[in-house]
């Protein structure tokens, strides 16, 4: 629970923003897949904090990548340099780093779900595996600026609902474009129907993988047991047992 000075807010596409703040300790501590819990207003509107994945760290600066979809995230678009940001974190379980023997890493992200993969690809730059990002967005406006992924040696394949960028259709259209290896490791984050499709795909091809889930959160700390989702082990909290789960653990 700390207050950090906002460094910059930037709109990077018609629907996406990047918010950077100075938080050296957090920048050092956070692992790919973990999130932070932000108090977006000074009062009770909205009442809960809002969870966001860490998108990137650069020096002592932490960045989130977000889409204003409601009251809370919209409030973040009025932050400016010099404001402070009340942040809890880093929270939650990280993505498991790929073992040395993994020859191919496939990130599968839908919309804003690609955000945590930036930090992840930063951290495993030196890993020798082939890296791919299968990305699905609703429209051109909903596609990530991909140059940074490319700089990290990640090959990006995109699908949009309207075909304006990349292949037309869902991200699952992209599955057939990749030649899988037995050691392929999948990491996915996005809407539940997409992750369900990824789970089915991984099952068919007997691939290991992890998925990062979303749920409305109150505490973000595993205290309230309010963000539970069904897993093969019973209910598990997204904030504390997750957000990263084994792909096979999830029940859709």
């Amino acid at each position: 629970l700390k207050s950090y000075p906002v460094a910059a807010l930037k709109q990077v596409s018609p629907v996406y923003f990047r918010l950077a703040f100075e938080a050296p300790g957090l920048a050092r501590a956070v692992k790919p897949g973990q999130f932070i819990h932000i108090k977006v207003s000074d009062g009770f509107e909205p009442f809960f904090r809002r969870p966001f994945s860490v998108y990137r760290t650069q020096g002592g600066v932490v960045e989130i990548f977000f889409e204003p979809v409601g009251k809370g995230s919209r409030l973040l678009t009025s932050k400016k340099k010099g404001d402070t940001l009340d942040v809890l974190g880093p929270l939650g379980k990280r993505f498991t780093p790929p073992a040395a023997g993994v020859k191919q890493i496939v990130f599968i992200g839908g919309g804003i779900g690609a955000a945590p993969f930036m930090l992840f690809s930063d951290k495993i730059k030196s890993h020798k595996a082939e890296k791919l990002l299968l990305y699905g967005g609703r429209s051109k406006a909903h596609t990530f600026p991909m140059t940074e992924f490319k700089k990290n040696g990640v090959r990006v394949l995109t699908a949009t609902d309207d075909g304006a960028v990349g292949v037309r259709g869902r991200v699952s259209e992209l599955f057939k474009e990749i030649s899988l290896l037995p050691s392929t490791m999948i990491y996915t984050c996005g809407p539940r129907p997409m992750m369900a499709a990824v789970q089915a795909f991984a099952k068919t091809h007997d691939l290991r993988g992890e998925a990062s889930c979303e749920e409305v959160m109150a505490c973000g700390l595993g205290a309230c047991l309010g963000c539970s989702i069904p897993t093969v082990h019973g209910y598990r909290t997204v904030c504390h047992d997750g957000p990263v789960f084994g792909l096979n653990e999830l029940v859709f």
Binding site: F47, G89, L221, G222, A223, C224, L225, I229, P230
Partner: protein, 301 residues
Amino acid sequence: MNISVKIGHVVLANPVTVASGTFGHSEEMYQAKEVRCLGAIVPKTVTLHAQQGNPPRRMCEVAAGMINAIGIENPGIDAFIATKLPKLKKIGVPLIVSISAHSANDFVLMAQKLNAADGVAAVELNLSCPNLQKKVLVAQDAEATAAVVRQVKAVTRYPLIAKLSPNVTSIVDIALAAESAGADALSMVNTFAAMAIDVKKRRSKIGNFTGGLSGPAIRPIAVRMVCETAARVKIPIIGMGGITCTNDALEFLIAGATMVAVGTYNFINPRAPLEILDGIRAYMKENKMTDIRELIGSIER
């Protein structure tokens, strides 16, 4: 400055605690030495057998509060005693164990198990549980409340706290019943039965259909209930319901609560209990009070 308070025969260093089900002793947030500053802590309610809780969504936000229907997800009392209690004990802060059951017998059984355990300062009965004979909750029925309190009091070696539900016509009647049955203190209040509807889907936002409203929205009702009850009972009251800051906590103390518990707002500001503890000290200093008893129930009636 004396801010210590008594629940039964147990002396607590100060009047600030947390509400059951809302406090995560997460190492990321707290160091043991900070938690030790609180008067007591109250972990989530434990039941006789493990409960997996309700199906999602288990909660939603509403104006100045939230609705929850967690369903008392917990590992059961044996697992609690075996695995959780030792860790909680290690913190070194008085521990109030909240229990709930479907019958007076089960309550008694759990109290006996706690008697045999170590590191418990007091027991809280979460009486917002179904009342097998009737359609209402135990806490909605003065007789049922008295019966459970009396039977547990007969066996427990700890001070006994009855946690009351606000979903009643007269909370004073329930409080008096609990007091005369031997309760050493009252916790007031639990959540208000409530719901919120997703108008697009035309269904409840809560998997369990209804849930419990908590947070600042309920504070004015909770303060009224504490104020009303404090004038009528002799046992101490742990006041809760929408406490977010020192000012809110002072309302409860001035209304007559002996202790205050932060609930829902722990989720928004996990440091609220510590800040409130400092705030109460500052208020007393500013108002030249040397004993917390000058503050408790000091409202002009």
